[in-house]
Amino acid sequence: MEKKRDTWDSRFIFVMAAIGSAVGLGNVWRFPYTCYKYGGGAFLIPFFVALLTAGIPLMILEFGLGHKMRAAAPLAFRCIRKKYEWVGWFAVLTGLFVMTYYGVVMGWCFRYLAYAFNMAWGNDTQDFFYNGVLQLSGGIGDIGAPVGWTVFGLFLCWLGVFFSIVKGVKSVGKVVMWTVPVPVILLLAFVIRGVTLPGAMDGLSYYLTPDLKALLDWEVWLQAYGQVFFSLSIGFGVMIAYGSFLSEDSDVTNNAFITCLADAGICFMAGFAVFSTLGYLAFTEGKEVAEVVKSGPGLAFVTYPLIINKLHFIPQAFGVMFFLLLLTLGIDSAFSLVEAGVAGSIDKWGFNRVSVNAIISFLAFAIGVLYTTRAGLYWLDIVDFYLTNYGLAIVGLLECVLVGYVYGADKIREHVNRTSEIRIGVWWDLCIKIVTPVILLWMILAKLLNVNGIIAKLAGRGPEGAPWREILFNPPYEGYPAWAQMAGGWGLLLALFVAALIISSVKSRRDGNA
C-alpha cells in the first residue's frame, strides 16, 4: 500500500522553508556587487522585469508541478512523459554537486566563526585567507593534501544538513523557524550598524545611483535575468519537491510571489549592509569605494574581516554575527538541495529516509573533500561556473519546454488557479513558453559564444587572420588549462547527464508494481 505523503505542518512553515532555500550566500555576496557593477540603481529596473517575467513564473511552475504531480522532480517529469524522468535526475544531481562545494564554503564559515572570537585573521586578511586558511597552491594541478580544519568544517556542515532533513518536512519545519528569521534580524543589525558609520552614504551612492545608459546594454539585462534565476534555487528540483509536500487545497501562486519578493527584498537589504560598510572601509583607508569593492568569497573572507577590524565597538561580536549570518543563510539552501535528492529517491524506490539521507550525505561529503585540498578553490571556481551557467540554465530551459509545450502550460495554470488566491492569466503561459526559454537560451549562448566578436566579424571589423575558433567561442574560463575545464566543466556535465539517464532507466517500485 502507498504510504501517505508527508505534508507541511502549515502554510507559514512551507513559505519559510521556500524562502530559506531561495535565500543563500549569493544574496549577500553576489546581488549587491552585480547591482553596483551593472548600472547601480538602474539595475533594479531589469531586475524587477526579470523577477516578474522569469523568476515568479518559474517559481509558480516548480511549485505547481510538484503540487499537481505530488512528486519530487524525477517522478514529476516522469508523469509528464516517462522518457523525461532523466531531466528531474539531472536537476537533482546538479543540485547535489553544487552542494558538494557549497558545504566547503560553509566549512570556511565555521572556521571563521571560531576565528571571529579573537579576530585571528589579523591585519593581512588576504594572506590569512589564501595562505593560512586555504593554503592555496600555485596551480590547479598542484592539489596537495586536504586541509584538516576545513574538512572538519565540511563535516559539521554535513552533520547539520543530515539532521535538518532527517524527518523530512517535519524536521525542516522546525529548523527553518530559526534559520530564516535569524539571518534577517542579523542583516538588519548590520544595516543599522552600517548606515551609522562614517562614509556609509558614499558607499550607498555607489550602490544606488542609477546609470540609465546601462539599460541600453544587453549584458545588463542578461545579468539581471541571471541574478534572478540563480538566486531563487530554481532548476535544482528543490521547489518541485517542496511543492509536492503542500496539501491538496493549498495556495500556489501567492506563495510563489511571497517567496520571490522576500528573496529579492533580502538581496536589496543585503546591499545596504555590504555597501554601507564598504563605504566605511573606503573612508578609513582614504580610498574610493570602487577600489575596495569585492564579491564572492573575497568579500566575505577578506574584505569583511578587514571591516570588522576597523569597528571600534565590540568588533568580535560583529565578527561572530557576520559568520553566523552566512551560516544561517546557507544552511537552509544546503539542506534543501539534499532534500530534493532524498525525496526523489524515496519517490522512486521507496527507500528508508534515514538510510538514503546518510548515503547521499556521506558521498557528497567525500566528493567535497576535493575542494578542501590546496587547489580546492580553483576546482570550486570551475565546477561552480559550469554547473550554474550551463547545468542550471539547461535544466530551466528543459523545464520550460517540457511543461510549456509537451505537458501544456495551460494545464498547470488551470491547476494552480483552482486553489490559489491570485489567479494567473495567459501572460504566465507566454512567460513559460517564450520569454524565459528565449532568455535562458540566450544566457547559455552568450556564455559559450563570443557574441561581440561574431558581430564585429560579420560587420567586417574583426581582427584579421584570427582563427574561427577564437572568433566563435569565448576564451577558456579564467584561463584554466583545457584538461581542468574538461574534467571539472564539460566532463562533469556529461557525467551528470549520463548518470541521470542511467538512474532514470533503473526499475522503480512503480515499475515493479505494474
Binding site: 502554510r11 547601480g40 540603481g41 538602474a42 533594479l44 524587477f48 552614504m201 550607498l204 551612492s205 550602490y207 544606488l208 545611483t209 542609477p210 495556495d251 501567492n254 506563495n255 510571489f257 511571497i258 519578493l261 522576500a262 529579492a264 527584498g265 536589496f268 488566491e421 491570485i422
Partner: protein
Amino acid sequence: MPESAWAMLIIACAVLYGGLACCIGISLGASKKKNGSGK
C-alpha cells in the same frame, strides 16, 4: 547621496516590500475567509 539614488531607493522599497506586504495581506485575508467567522 544624489536625488536619483534616493528615488531608486523609494521605488525599490515600494515594489519589493510593498509588493510583499500586499501578498501577505491577500494570504491573511484568504485564511480569515477560509476559517470563517463561526457562521
